[in-house]
Symmetry: C2
DNA sequence: CCTCTATGTTTACGGCATCAACATTTAGGT
DNA sequence: ACCTAAATGTTGATGCCGTAAACATAGAGG
């Protein structure tokens, strides 16, 4: 739950909501759990929260701004999810593969939110994801796997990201079965890139 | 241009259009060149073609059906584009990599159409892409690279598809720069999967 | 206590997908 | 050649949507 200024026992609707902005974001995240991204409507969110349609505009300049805020929440959740997965794994190569599998599983568990996350750019058209936790781990791991060669490093990083992102999208779009075992098989430290990117230069043995 | 039953010199609008279905699809494809997928409207297409808004419903049960028809056109175009790329390449490993690069370049050249293609499923929720030309080449090539082991074959095929699809989506969504040289670097027969999937078992030398 | 600002509300506009009822044109059977 | 039925278009209406303008209220700071 997000913060709310209204007392817990205050039942009837006050003229002022208390923390409408947070309430709208909560409602948005909840709606994204069950609703296709194109079917999210400001009016419905307002109804859910018990407020008039145009009240939204006191907190967001337009729908796009609300969606962008939801996308940011999605990025944060994804990062936390990956972090947890990495922590449970043993060894850095396994941890890296674990973040990849977590990326795909998060997408499958939160389809609309995941799509929103990667469909939104800031007003200048720049990625919201770039400074994400997972993005940082990705860069760090790629650097380790390709000491010295900066271009090879970038290439490996992008290949790794592309595999997990592609797998996630193809499963979300039903081009591939959303099969849990398949995720493990495709994102496997021992076989992906012939073990090159993940295993070769790492700090532990297979 | 698609077929049209109206005489070429017949200028004024007849009550019957002649071949409204094809005209709508043409207009849809043209609109997708410049318009975001969410901003395509039946009414606008009808206006473009010079027909009333509801005339569309004589040829498509609903908007979704029209979009699906456009998606099928996108699949066909993508397949043809990849086919041409493969033909120009020398050697089967290079040809395979060429289809991958073509996949990404097609996506960048036709963003809305590409998205539509992979966002649409048939009424039963099955992929429209499965029987595509490129999909077949992909299967065939993966089979060659992993003689015998059926599971490894499937894994390789999916990894290859995921890399190109992921790269395409990340570039479309501005998560990565839509850089032509970068595409070549990421999809390279000599480095991708450590050369395993593409070069090892192939029928020509590097 | 009084006013200013933040926050909500009502009303209204134009656009959308879609439905129902009506009009025209074309095709097929006699 | 006619007459009818099916195919194809049109008009009009419904109920959504995002958003703008004008108005209302509540709470904060002087």
């Amino acid at each position: 739950m997000s913060t709310s200024k209204v007392a817990a026992n205050d039942v009837q609707r006050a003229y002022h909501h208390g923390d409408l902005r947070s309430a709208l974001l909560d409602a948005g995240l909840k709606a994204l759990e069950t609703t296709d991204i194109a079917d999210i409507s400001l009016r419905q969110l307002a109804r859910d929260v018990g407020v008039s349609a145009t009240a939204v505009y006191r907190h967001f300049p337009d729908k796009q701004a609300l969606m962008q805020a939801l996308a940011q929440a999605g990025i944060d959740q994804l990062g936390a999810y990956q972090q947890r997965a990495a922590t449970k794994a043993h060894g850095s190569a396994e941890a890296f593969a674990a973040t990849g599998r977590a990326y795909v599983r998060f997408a499958l568990a939160n389809p609309s939110l995941f799509r929103l996350t990667f469909g939104q750019c800031d007003r200048a058209g720049h990625s919201l994801f770039g400074e994400n936790l997972a993005a940082k781990m990705l860069r760090e791991r790629a650097a380790r796997a390709s000491r010295g060669d900066a271009e090879a490093e970038q290439t490996l990083m992008i290949q790794a990201w592309a595999v997990v992102h592609g797998l996630a999208m193809l499963m979300l779009d039903r081009q591939l079965p959303a099969d849990d075992a398949l995720i493990d098989r495709v994102i496997d430290a021992r076989t992906l890139f012939g073990g090159y990117a993940l295993g070769s230069n790492s700090d532990e043995s297979p």
